[in-house]
Each structure stands twice: as C-alpha cells, then as structure tokens.
Symmetry: C2
DNA sequence: GCTACTTTTCATTTATTACTGAAAATTCAA
DNA sequence: TTGAATTTTCAGTAATAAATGAAAAGTAGC
C-alpha cells in the first residue's frame, strides 16, 4: 500500500469509528486529516481533501476547537486562517475524556441526585428503583476517579508501572 | 416527585444519554425499563410502556440480548416470553466494555497494523504518519489493559484500594 | 394436520441528523 | 471608508438511521 492510500484509509476509518461513538463522521475525518498533516492547513484545503462544503468545514472546525482538539495558527504574511491538531495522541485521549466528563458525567450525576428525591419511598418497587439509581451513581463516581488515574498515569511513571502489574 | 414520574424521567434520560454514545435511544430505554422493573416483562408490556411498535421492541430486544444485557426467562405456565435485565450495574458496565472492546478495538488494531505496511516509508510525511499510527496503537493497547484493570478492580479489593490511592 | 397464539422479518415510512450553498457578517489593507 | 478576501450563519435539502405494521414464520396444544 502507498502512503497516500494509507492516509485515505486512515481518514475514512477514523470517521467510521467516530460515528460508533456518537461523533459525527466529518468531524472525525477533519481531525484525522489534521492529525496526519505535517503542516497547518486551511479550510479550503480541508474542503478539497474531503470534498465537503465550506459551511460544513467551518462548523466542524468550530466544534473541534470547542473540544480542544485543534488550534488556529497564524502563518506569517497570510491572511487565511490555518489549523493544526495536537499530535500527542495521549493528550487527545485525555482531552476527549475530560470533555465528555464535563459534558455528560456531571449532568448525569445531577439527574441521579434528583431521582433520589422521590416522595413515596415506601411505594412498591421504590426500594429497587433507588437501589439502581444509587448503584449508577456509585459507578459513575468510580469511573470518574478511574479516568483521573488514567490521566495521571501518563505524567506519573510510577502509576503506569503499577497499572501494568495488574494487567 | 412521585416514583412513577421518577421512573419515567430515568427511562427518558437514559435513552438520551445512550444516543450520545452511539446507542439507539429505544434500545437504551428498553434497557432502562427492564433495569427498574422488579418482575420479568413481555414484549407487549414494553410496547405499551414505551408506546412503540412490536417490530421495534423485537429488534431491540434481540440486540440487547446480543450485548449480553438482558435475558429471556420462562414463566411457569405462560406461553409468552418474558425478559429481565441484570440488575448488577457493575456487570452491566463491564459487559458493555467487553463487547465494545470485541467489536471495535480489535478491528481498529487490525486496521492500524495494516496501515503500518506502507511501501514508500521514505516518502515525505511517511515518518509522521507512521508515528501517529504507532501512537494510536500504543494508546489502544494501553486503554485495553486499563479496562482489564477496571474489570478486575471489582473482584479484587486490593486493586480497588490501590486505585483509590491515586485518586 | 389444524388452529390459535406468538415471534420474527423486512419493505415502506417517518424522524433525525448532517450537509450545502448563498447571503450576511467580519476582517484587513490601502 | 471602501472593497476585496475570508469567515460565519442558517434556511433548505439530502443522507442516514430508526420505527412501523402487516405478512410470514415459528410453536405448541389438540
């Protein structure tokens, strides 16, 4: 396989992979394109490479910036905006984890806390319901701290080593 | 808030939460309904409770069984099939992780291994491309073992305790 | 084998999500 | 402050994903 072919495959598959995780295909593809691009590129470059419209590129770029995955960069003497992606895959992963935590875990915990405030706690089935809600709350918090460990495991060799032991 | 109201909210929010993770809303809702149901229920019960068609219930139930999240149960002297969900939330989580690993991580690693086999490794940008691909592979494997640790952390108090230290 | 009951399938319809493209807004240099 | 270059917005459209419902297939007792 040639390099250009491999790059194309990478972009396509990264996009397909994204959709399975609730990330829109184009956004994942733009991210992939920037990940394997050695130089900053413009919206026009992305339009051309992925054969998509200007509006589409623009909206997804904004989202990606919101996720903290790509950055605008200024190129000397150029009027157009250029973009790059952080190439450190570990940072990409932790960034996504952090964002999903913020966007989903916190609201989830809020909902669960709310559901625990039912009036008729003696009602038939209330006990079981509260059990499930309480368990999900516990699990969420557990997952939360595990993600923290994961994030720390990169900076801290010791933690990484300990994790390996349990593998 | 009343119990019935809380249950309804739980089902709706669980469905909405699912969509963010690439799980179809109805499937998540059926799962939620079964999670908080104290007794096994039939397809007709689900149709009624969620106001959805027979076909829809049937297809999603099959998927949920495929994910190992719900089970058919036989009720004495009843011709109809009944269903239950495993109420142990931890098992639910590990089951989902295991399945996603199987369905997504493995194909991903296969793809990456493929992409490393490019002919023109001296080509401009090949080095950077291989770097990214290699890094993703490493990260995937790392995530894989972390998930194993997570799964083990439940059965093994010691691991759980160690994880807490790093929190 | 027949019948009543239940589950499964899947072509069609509906709902949701994503994309386009042109107009509006913004930016910047002269 | 004008106007060319660039970015942003968003109503309309297209593509995708999910749901319906009726017909087919399966099941079990008689």
């Amino acid at each position: 396989m040639k390099l250009v072919e491999a790059k194309q495959q990478f972009i396509n598959n990264w996009g397909a992979f994204g959709t399975q995780w609730g990330i829109n295909r184009t956004m994942a593809q733009i991210h992939a394109l920037l990940l394997i691009s050695t130089v900053p590129i413009t919206q026009d470059d992305i339009m051309e490479q992925l054969s998509i419209s200007r509006g589409n590129v623009n909206m997804n770029i904004r989202d990606l910036i919101g996720w903290g995955l790509i950055n605008r960069v200024v190129v000397q003497g150029e009027r157009k905006e250029y973009f790059t992606a952080d190439k450190d895959i570990w940072k990409v992963a932790t960034q996504i984890i952090k964002e999903r935590k913020k966007r989903e875990l916190d609201p989830m915990l809020k909902l669960l806390a709310n559901l625990e405030n039912i009036e008729d706690k003696k009602e038939n089935g209330a006990k079981e319901f509260l059990q499930v809600v309480g368990d999900i709350k516990k699990l969420s918090k557990h997952a939360d701290s595990l993600m923290d460990v994961m994030i720390k495991a990169e900076e801290n060799k010791f933690i990484g080593a300990v994790l390996k032991i349990f593998k």
